[in-house]
Symmetry: C2
């Protein structure tokens, strides 16, 4: 093996989500020099972000400092910064701080963000849920809608303010709608004098023929029924045509709302564009089986930013577990390649079950070969997430407390942030 200068072997990893963190861990375990860049200082346990948005958890419960997560890996350096351009020829990245870093290998795992399908002006009225800040904004606006209703003396206006629209019937939309309905029904119902919070209308608007399109139809039907029992009005074949401050227009009808949340579209981060490679309409990069980017040397991409065919001829879904498994794979494979120059077998995804939480004590689980729903699925989900949270934070107390609060519906995090009501 030829001697390499330090810069020739340094791996620059962009993004500290599930994928990027695992790559850094794998390379760090092999003592390979890594610089991990993220514009946030925390790694986020995104599957529970909807619980921060609906006041069941605090931001710090599901966000760990990236530096703490990677503290044990001496060869890994963390940078709070943002990539503004990539040069695959000179093997450099330029950062928002003005610095330029050179790399021997580049791994991009910058994930996805919301897509408003060309209507970015809707973002001001219907925020999406990807970051802690998004969750804080949603939580504040949600609670402010009820505060405004309490203050109002106009029944019509109260009804509008207490109408919350969740746009998009995928897992995030289902989880948000269920959780908001429960917040209104079990928690806020005791807090007001002038309104009855439990009469709030929660709308789940889905453009397609059914919610949870990625799940088997029986599970989606079950979820829709359970949502109905919680008081969520599910409307399918309902295409949103406009979003404004106080209304959502769908199928030609204006629906007055107190607040709307966007859970409909996802778009890959702009790293594909920065790399200058071909992407699909959602900005995703089609990667090779070993997660390398076609046409570029020593550049890899993984997670929600990418498209990869699954065993059945479709594409792998944009899930935390896909990103995490890809990260674990690439950490090992790249370490092996850098150490010995040998190539690895292509990545293979193991489906550990796709899940959506419908609400209090109800969930759906799809393992492909097996399906699960109801109370048992919920318990199973809760157990798995306590386990994952403990692994994530090494904080057993937080995990137990979270489970306790979740089961008892004591939502302690009902904070309205200053200025969050301004649009």
């Amino acid at each position: 093996m030829a001697a390499v200068s330090q810069n020739d072997s340094r791996v620059v990893v962009v993004g500290a989500g599930f994928a990027g963190i695992e790559v850094a861990r794998g390379l760090g375990a092999a003592r390979i020099p890594v610089t991990l860049i993220d514009r946030q200082n925390h790694h986020l346990f995104q599957p529970l972000l909807y619980q921060v948005a609906t006041a069941a958890l605090s931001p710090a419960d599901i966000a760990e400092p990236v530096r703490k997560v990677l503290r044990g890996y001496e060869s890994v350096e963390v940078r709070l910064d943002e990539v503004v351009s990539v040069d695959a020829r000179t093997h450099t990245v330029s950062l928002a701080s003005g610095d330029t870093l050179s790399w021997g290998w580049l791994v991009v795992a910058t994930g996805a963000t919301h897509s408003y399908f060309g209507h970015d002006e809707w973002a001001a009225f219907a925020p999406g849920l990807k970051t802690i800040e998004d969750a804080r904004i949603i939580r504040s606006r949600l609670l402010l809608a009820f505060e405004e209703a309490e203050r109002s003396h106009d029944k019509e206006q109260q009804r509008r303010l207490m109408t919350i629209a969740v746009i998009g019937g995928g897992p995030t939309g289902v989880e948000l709608a269920g959780s908001i309905a429960e917040l209104a029904r079990y928690t806020l119902s005791k807090d007001f004098r002038n309104i009855r919070a439990e009469t709030a209308t929660v709308l789940l608007l889905e453009a397609g023929p059914r919610i949870l399109p990625a799940f088997p139809e029986a599970l989606a039907d079950y979820a829709a029924r359970k949502l109905g029992q919680l008081g969520v009005t599910v409307r399918t074949q309902c295409a949103v045509e406009n979003v404004s401050a106080n209304a959502v227009r769908a199928n030609g009808e204006d629906i007055g709302v107190g607040f709307a949340i966007w859970a409909a579209g996802v778009r890959a981060s702009n790293l594909g564009t920065l790399l200058g490679v071909e992407t699909d309409r959602a900005g995703r990069i089609s990667v090779n089986g070993d997660l390398s980017v076609p046409g570029l040397d020593r550049v890899y991409a993984l997670g929600d930013l990418t498209l990869l065919a699954d065993a059945k001829g479709g594409n792998l879904p944009g899930l935390a577990q896909v990103a995490k498994q890809q990260g674990q794979y690439l950490g090992r494979a790249l370490a092996q390649k850098i150490r010995s120059g040998s190539a690895s077998q292509p990545f293979r995804y193991k489906n550990r079950g796709n899940t959506a939480i419908v609400g209090r004590h109800a969930a759906v689980f799809d393992f492909g070969w097996w399906q699960l729903k109801g109370w048992f699925a919920w318990s199973f989900w809760a157990l798995i997430h306590v386990y994952l949270l403990v692994g994530f934070q090494h904080r057993l107390m937080v995990a137990i407390q979270w489970l306790w609060r979740y089961v008892t519906y004591e939502r302690g995090s009902r904070l309205i942030a200053e200025g969050a009501g301004k649009r």
Copy 2:
């Protein structure tokens, strides 16, 4: 007793701090109609706010929704709003929302905010600590200073960025300085590769001859010695003359800083001005022994907004326990007055001990007749605060967890909020 219309007996309480909450509780227990107005939706356990600012606690750990706290009192109504004017003649208050409320009795308990002694332009560079939002900003900027230092290649610049100035040597300044020194020394020290966080300089700048002027000299000396052991540089007789983005000027010398925090001056909220009554230079209203406002009928004021002589001829300090005791007193006294028309004995303060936390396992306690310092004082403080937090939130788990995290120095809340670095 003459029949009164509802508006004649309704008590409007402005401010949901320790004082206002207790007044509402006392009146609520007597089933007297109350409207409590606050511009925040949460009641804050302010004595632990410095721990949110230094990443030891999450905002929700020390903030409870006002509606939840007062949920059990059916005659109490809560309003998220802000008082913009008061008319003592027509017995009305006007609110930021545009509404006007009439009152039979008015209680103002709007507390205090920072005072920059005529230099409000310093606020952008040296934020004060009064609200959850303040704490979030301080936490973010503090962590960002270390992030910037890690990124820098210039030793001089690194040294400046890792210099944190706390301006003001009262209890808040002492607690912040001690807590920041510990954050750098015990927590951040393991996180960086390029800097040694434990070498950070924490300055505590006090204009007077010694820190903790409200405490006996022996306790202040002990606190200064303990701060020194933690690595805090205490400078007394050090008058701050200017604060800018990267420097604090004191005694004619420019000190380069990564971040400065203002803990020097306090000014009462503007309710005294709105009431049109005389105030002292800090905006405080001198109240009568029964907490009524001189010259106004049926108007009371209490807490940090007010000045009241103590038994020794001085004034009562601006402490949470003073505000709380005054609130308990006024809730009872006003209920009695409204119910039976009879007057109460004047308010008497019971000193339950004045305390300041110097850092890990060290505190000072002043009970007037008895003084306590060191590890035992710290344990005593921790026990009392676990007790108070449990009473505050009815959440034993949070209190235990807080104690555990505090003792082990596992600071889980090291989140940098988006946009918080912008000045």
